[in-house]
């Protein structure tokens, strides 16, 4: 709350500066009866930005920096005995102290924890005072400096535009920063994981059985209880994606052909958005549908046929996922088929072929790269899909090709490992990052390839 009020305060000060600057510009104009270089409100905006930007920068440096600074300083308050003890882990100690600061006390903490929390609290208090003084001071000083610059010769519009341009440029860098952040967060943890587990064990191992290190130690020094062979996860992902494709490719493709070649424009305007609703339904709803409607249905119809269907089966998850990705295939393929030049169709009709022959022998082959691209995009969607498999496919890492059994996927393992409390040092937690890395590589690779195909294909007809 304190931070919020400080932010409001800074904004308030800079708004005051806007009024001051605006009035000053008007006064210069009136008293000296001369023309200003820019419209008077540009002077106000200039002073506002002069006051706001430096103080905002100050504010963010302080609010982000203080926690990191405190964390490094508090190390001095941890007693030597604790640091030297065998299971010393600074992250856990830090969490203990922070909990104590927030008043979340479990059991009776050691005296030094309470002491460190007291020190921390006093730091927070001091830093709040320091932050507010320095932010407000910066806002006033830099606003005043901006105000001093106002005179009839000053080109405030150019100055303001320069600032706004750079703000726009900086915000476009956020996209790069996000990518960097994703890669940074995944790659570094993955490297730590591969330091513990060799990468060929991970990529080619056939048993996935992650255990927490603590459990390993408790098992009387038994090493190698955990196994991180990701093949069953890849196989499960693959199996579910194949089932999903068996549902979505025929339905999506035939819908696309019908919509683009046979349907009247009214039908098209009605059915295309209707199919797209399927892509807009939240995945958690599909997951619920798969787990509570489709899976029991498959189970009961399986028992009628004498088949033993697991209550969480790859089939249920795959079927529902197939429904979800229908629009990815139908809409994209429809666009691609529409993009085939009319002259090709006319040529076909001119030779006396029926619509079927034109579609099958001329239009579809011409549109094939785009159709393939749409299917690849749909697969990449299916591979990255999480909630349906978490809720309906189960967690058992079976290496099986039987769609009636429970399988698990890369995404559902990431979720099960990372949801809840985790110790960042253990191989189990780190394995989720390695899985995420493979997931990113697979989906981005497919995406690149699909876009490449579309691009190449588009050039052919332009």
């Amino acid at each position: 709350m304190f931070n919020f009020y400080l932010l409001i305060g800074i904004i308030f000060i800079s708004l005051l500066f806007f009024i001051i600057g605006h009035n000053e510009a008007k006064n210069i104009k009136k008293i000296n009866n001369i023309k200003l270089h820019s419209l008077s409100h540009y002077y106000g905006i200039f002073v506002l930005l002069a006051s706001l930007l430096p103080s905002l920068g100050m504010y963010f440096i302080f609010t982000i920096g203080d926690d990191l600074l405190f964390a490094s300083l508090i190390q001095n308050y941890v007693p030597i005995e604790v640091v030297n003890s065998e299971d010393y882990n600074f992250t856990i100690v830090l969490a203990q102290i922070k909990n104590s600061v927030e008043g979340l006390i479990f059991g009776t903490p050691d005296q030094w924890v309470t002491d460190a929390a007291e020190v921390w609290k006093s730091w927070v208090y001091q830093s709040q005072i320091l932050t507010s003084i320095s932010c407000i001071f910066t806002a006033i000083i830099s606003g005043f400096l901006g105000y001093r610059k106002i005179n009839h010769k000053f080109r405030s519009r150019n100055a303001v535009e320069k600032i706004v341009m750079s703000i726009l440029a900086v915000s476009s860098i956020i996209a790069i920063l996000t990518t960097v952040a994703i890669i940074f967060s995944v790659v570094f943890e993955s490297i730590r994981f591969f330091a513990l587990i060799p990468y060929d064990d991970f990529l080619f191992g056939t048993v996935w059985n992650p255990q927490f290190e603590g459990a390993e130690r408790a098992g009387s020094g038994q090493e190698g209880l955990s196994q991180y062979g990701a093949i069953p996860l890849f196989a499960g992902t693959f199996l579910i994606s194949i089932i999903a494709l068996c549902v979505s490719v025929p339905i999506g493709l035939f819908s696309a052909i019908y919509l683009s070649e046979y349907a009247t424009s009214k039908e098209r305007a009605f059915f295309k958005p209707l199919l797209e609703i399927l892509a807009g339904i939240p995945t958690v709803v599909y997951g619920f549908f798969a787990a509570l409607t489709v899976a029991p249905f498959l189970r009961s119809s399986g028992s009628v046929l004498g088949l033993d269907v697991a209550s969480e089966s790859a089939l249920a998850a795959g079927l529902v996922m197939g429904i979800m990705i229908i629009p990815f295939i139908s809409s994209l393929s429809d666009d691609v088929i529409n993009a085939v030049p009319q002259s090709l169709r006319d040529a076909g009709y001119g030779l006396g072929s029926t619509k079927n022959e034109t579609v099958m022998k001329i239009v579809l082959p011409a549109a094939l790269p785009g159709v393939v691209a749409s299917i690849i995009l749909a697969v990449s969607r299916a591979v990255g899909e999480t909630m349906i498999v978490v809720m309906a496919a189960g967690l058992a890492a079976n290496l099986t090709a039987n769609p009636l059994e429970a399988v698990t996927t890369v995404t559902s393992q990431i979720v099960t490992i990372l949801v809840g409390d985790q110790e960042f040092e253990s191989a189990k937690t780190l394995s989720a990052f390695a899985l995420a890395l493979t997931l990113i590589i697979i989906t981005l690779g497919m995406n690149f390839y699909a876009l490449h195909i579309v691009k190449k294909y588009r050039e052919q007809y332009e």
Partner: protein
């Protein structure tokens, strides 16, 4: 030249014969297309049907009406209506006494079972009533209490009377009590006041979506506050200002890549960067909103760029012609004209963010939180995550409540998307 020559008559006959086959092939393809669309629409309808039939009863539940003697000395022993005083009071005991006077249980065991008929939220309900309306003290008023979820399931017919007692969740004795209450006309089936106003709870009869709904709104507003300005600024920069060079190309590639990254990866990034490195607390809407903002950013950027591109160059040229600067052209002409398209993209992005679950699981918004979040820094959960959590619970009543929550979520998504379509139709200009 020993190839057999055919006469024109033979040729027409061959074509005539084959044309039937070719036409029927044509019709078959048309039929396959219709079947495919029909199947897809059927899936959609079936999905909605199954959610609605399951979820509609979730908005209702069974209540029992009891005569409550609002005795101030017993409910509010300290007489100051404070939480402590109401907590010390004997509200549950009063409710039980009123219940016992009707069903007259014999013996301690019977009494113990009878107590469980009324939901355990009864004392909270009385405390709330007297707080809102202290004039109730000293009166005897009829009050409706929710029934326990097992009784509710029994009344709905999910727990059958015919099942042997040992396999049933409720005993014969309790069924007898419920019958007695029913004969008195004290049990009613009406719109639940918990589903929309209640918060997360382990007792299905008291569970509601208010906390998750407010969490969703807080998360979504953070997401909007971050992603809309950033997305529009990026789109304007890339379309109007930046020269086409290596850097802008790199930015474009990045944006397209981000759109393809699976959502769960954004959650991992949030966990590793915001929580682990910046040390922000878990489970708060602020972090959730930031993660979702990064996720929806590509959607907003791509649609905003399309909207900016649709503004004809003549508008810009006219503005330049009367002496506007580049930024004046952008801010006074291009952005206002492109705004409907930008807003459409933003609303669609927000709808995506509202339905997103996986990244929020990663940053710990799955915690069981009873309190309704007051600010973006309070731990909270969101609607889809609440649905995910409820779907895991075993109690029968949670299935209905989950479906009811899904109906609310879908209602919001559909109205957001409908609004986007409306905006596009009404405001977007054709040039």
């Amino acid at each position: 030249m020993n190839k057999k020559r055919i006469t024109p008559l033979e040729a027409t006959n061959t074509v005539k014969k084959s044309i039937v086959k070719r036409r029927s092939k044509d019709n078959r393809l048309k039929l396959y297309g219709r079947i495919a669309i029909g199947l897809a629409v059927c899936f959609l309808l079936f999905l909605f049907y199954s959610i609605f039939t399951k979820g509609y009863p979730g908005f209702f539940q069974y209540y029992v009406t009891l005569d409550i003697n609002f005795d101030r000395d017993r409910i509010d022993p300290q007489g100051d209506l404070s939480d402590n005083s109401l907590f010390d009071g004997e509200a549950s005991k009063i409710v039980n006494e009123s219940l016992f006077s009707i069903i007259e249980p014999k013996g301690r065991k019977a009494k113990k079972q009878a107590k469980k008929i009324v939901s355990s939220g009864k004392d909270v309900r009385i405390a709330k009533m007297v707080k809102n309306n202290p004039s109730l003290f000293g009166t005897i008023t009829k009050v409706k209490f929710a029934l326990d979820d097992d009784i509710d399931s029994f009344l709905r017919g999910y727990i059958k009377r015919e099942t042997p007692e040992s396999e049933r969740r409720i005993s014969d004795k309790v069924i007898g009590f419920v019958d007695k209450l029913n004969q008195d006309g004290r049990i009613t089936y009406e719109f639940s006041d918990y589903i929309l106003k209640g918060s997360a709870s382990g007792n299905p009869e008291m569970a509601g979506i208010k906390g998750a709904f407010i969490g969703s709104m807080l998360t979504l507003s953070i997401c909007l506050l971050i992603s809309f300005p950033l997305g529009v600024a990026t789109a304007v920069y890339l379309e109007e200002i930046a020269k086409k060079n290596r850097i802008t190309e790199f930015i474009e590639v990045n944006i397209n890549n981000l759109a393809a990254v699976p959502s769960v990866v954004f959650g991992i990034m949030g966990l590793a960067i915001f929580i682990s490195i910046f040390g922000m607390p878990r489970s708060i809407p602020l972090v959730g909103g930031m993660v979702l903002a990064l996720m929806t950013l590509p959607t907003i950027i791509i649609s905003s760029r399309a909207a900016i591109r649709a503004v004809p160059p003549s508008v810009r040229d006219a503005a330049y012609g009367i002496g506007a600067s580049k930024l004046q052209v952008i801010f006074h002409h291009v952005i206002p004209l492109a705004m409907p398209g930008m807003l459409t993209g933003t609303i669609i992005g927000m709808a995506q963010a509202l339905g997103e679950t996986a990244p929020l699981l990663m940053i710990g918004m799955v915690a069981f939180i009873v309190d309704i979040p007051n600010s973006v820094m309070d731990p909270g959960t969101v609607l889809p995550v609440q649905i995910f959590m409820w779907a895991d619970f075993a109690e029968r009543m949670f299935i209905q409540k989950t479906s009811a929550a899904i109906i609310v979520l879908l209602g919001f998504l559909i109205s957001m998307n409908a609004f986007a379509v409306y905006l596009r139709k009404k405001l977007e200009r054709r040039w």
